[in-house]
Assembly symmetry: C2
Homo-oligomer: 379 residues x 2
């Protein structure tokens, strides 16, 4: 009996990640592989040390190509939304580290078309406005403007379409419908969209590495079925676990329940209030009991958030764990640590976001990679 | 009992065009409407006089808009093929007349994408090569380079795609599949394509008139269902009958049986040989019988071709009809009249085609209309 569900539209229950690796047929990131990354990258990102990124497909081949000087490239994307939350930023933060350590090109697809065609309530004008807004948050993460190309489907389509017709010709409605949750009543735009999601994996004749939540894996199986017949590589992937929602350790942070997420625009007071009020605690009901029995870090969301990313110092996170488990650190105190970390992260993010406004044109059109990409038609 | 079939993929049997008007629910071009066209255009094209163009949708509204100074525009297209035959040119010749008389813009879509995605055997490189070749034949018809925009889907997609997503969002797989002959095994590119066929009907906020064979009518019913909800006009149409194949009065000229068609590249001797050998005759088996009984112009393909288009002189075609019916004109003589007409038409066409090479850049990119269209994104 299975007590969790993971697919591209839904993450439910307490996910057993070892089981998921078996189910999806992906590979675990073993200690050995982790060491190889450390050697190649010169260090290990906190999300690798803590096994937030825990699974992969063909990552060894990517590292081999890197080690042999053949190189690789990174690809990720974003379906624009009204506002991004902390969870949305996780893969970008990790991707930025990969780019920095491996000095590789990164392509970021902004799917303003898909978001519009998927949702009856949104206009194309909405999703393009959100695209601009989300791009600022993405740029704020700190990518290399000469090695990063951020493109919106509705703008870059001309350069992608010839190759998209070749990709599309290899995928029948039957093949895409299950993976993308389509049926007879789906509109014909959203049926075509999978081709546009696959094209960027073929932007270079090198291996493409996609960092993403493991729930996205099924999308790339289609790509892996057809890539080689078109003369490209099967997409490699590195998969993350899900940052738990504030309100409990199960599922995945979601925009549809605002109290469960910290938004990038949340001000200091909102962050404090949300964490204090909604963050699910592994602590005991009273101070007395807590001092006596200690908290449970396994189910404590503030601890998990610190562990996933917000407390990067390995020694310090161990201290926190010990002090909380032993009852020395109270729930309110642990929450305050997270509040401070979140607020200083968000403050820095918002400063970067302000500066990002000047950089949009570089990432989209005028940076070294962007410029080269606009001159290139993918066929 | 129905002894003919007409749909976008097949024309079979001897078409009863009056019945077809009822079946498709289109309107006949009445004497009254024809007179109105004559008044507006200053003359009547031979294909209108001879009722080759015989049916329409909303043509009155187009003429009303023209008469009131609101104007309209023309739209037609071509799925590129290895070589065009005479039948392919008929709608272009008529469209050229419409443009000349009404001084309106004309958009010609070259569906290199659709042709490629529809046919397992073709590469995109094939269909784009044919696109260039077919464009020469189209330009040779003599369109106004400042009022005509010829565009290939794979090139102009960026300017069409935002509006295409809006069109696509309004059409489900269920709705397009019957009309376009799609099913579960259709590829996802060809499923999306109907959106790209509809977008050009919305290139201007004026009525769009589409001259085409009546077999194409079903494609535009989808457009008529959704156009107004997007703030555009339902597409108007003017429908032609089918130029019969050389080999018999039934069906439609087809590239799949080369003997039944005269290709634009066929040299004088090939034309003579094909007409003499394959053209289906309404004459009698022997000269003696023919002199006595006369020929049947109703089923005689050489006569029908002369009547459709190649003998524009109304007095002369009546003479030929009478002489053939009375037995004065023999089958071989009638065929020779057609051979001479075809060869002089093709000679002129090929001269124009040579000159067309210099004009491609104007029709596609640099002409007055083309230039304006490249600066415009349809949203």
């Amino acid at each position: 009996m299975q007590d969790f569900t993971v697919n591209p539209w839904e993450v439910k229950g307490k996910v057993d990640y070892d089981k998921l690796i078996q189910q999806f047929g992906t590979q675990p990131i073993t200690d050995e592989l982790r060491e190889r990354i450390r050697k190649d990258a010169g260090e290990l990102h906190v999300m690798l040390r803590r096994k937030v990124f825990f699974s992969h497909r063909d990552l060894e081949s990517v590292l081999k190509d890197y080690e042999e000087g053949k190189g690789f490239f990174l690809y990720t994307g974003r379906a624009p939304s009204l506002g991004m939350h902390i969870g949305h930023l996780i893969p970008f933060i990790f991707t930025k580290w990969l780019q920095e350590r491996f000095k590789v090109n990164l392509y970021i697809e902004i799917t303003d078309d898909e978001k519009f065609m998927r949702n009856p309530d949104y206009s194309l004008e909405d999703t393009r406005k959100w695209a601009y807004d989300n791009i600022l948050d993405i740029i704020a993460v700190g990518f290399d403007p000469d090695r990063t190309f951020i493109f919106q489907d509705t703008e870059y389509i001309r350069n992608m379409y010839p190759l998209a017709t070749k990709v599309a010709k290899k995928m029948t409605f039957s093949e895409v419908k299950a993976t993308f949750g389509l049926d007879f009543s789906s509109n014909i735009g959203i049926i075509f969209y999978p081709a546009l999601q696959i094209v960027p994996t073929m932007f270079e004749k090198k291996r493409c590495l996609i960092p993403a939540g493991i729930d996205q894996d099924p999308y790339w199986r289609l790509q892996r079925d057809i890539a080689e017949s078109l003369g490209y590589f099967k997409a490699s992937q590195i998969h993350s676990k899900f940052l738990p929602p504030l309100t409990g350790i199960e599922g995945k942070m979601s925009s549809s329940s605002p109290d469960s997420a910290i938004y990038l625009v949340d001000d200091k007071e909102t962050v404090r209030r949300k964490v204090m009020k909604y963050a699910f605690s592994g602590g005991q009901p009273t101070v007395e009991l807590h001092r006596k029995l200690g908290g449970n870090t396994e189910i404590d969301v503030p601890f998990q958030w610190l562990y996933y990313f917000f407390e990067e110092d390995d020694k310090r996170i161990e201290e926190i764990k010990e002090e909380y488990s032993s009852g020395k650190l109270l729930t309110g105190e642990l929450k305050q640590i997270l509040v401070d970390k979140l607020n200083s992260f968000l403050e820095r993010h918002r400063e970067n976001r302000e500066r990002a406004k000047e950089l949009v044109k570089d990432f989209k059109y005028e940076g070294k990679l962007a410029k080269a990409m606009w001159e290139k038609v993918h066929e």
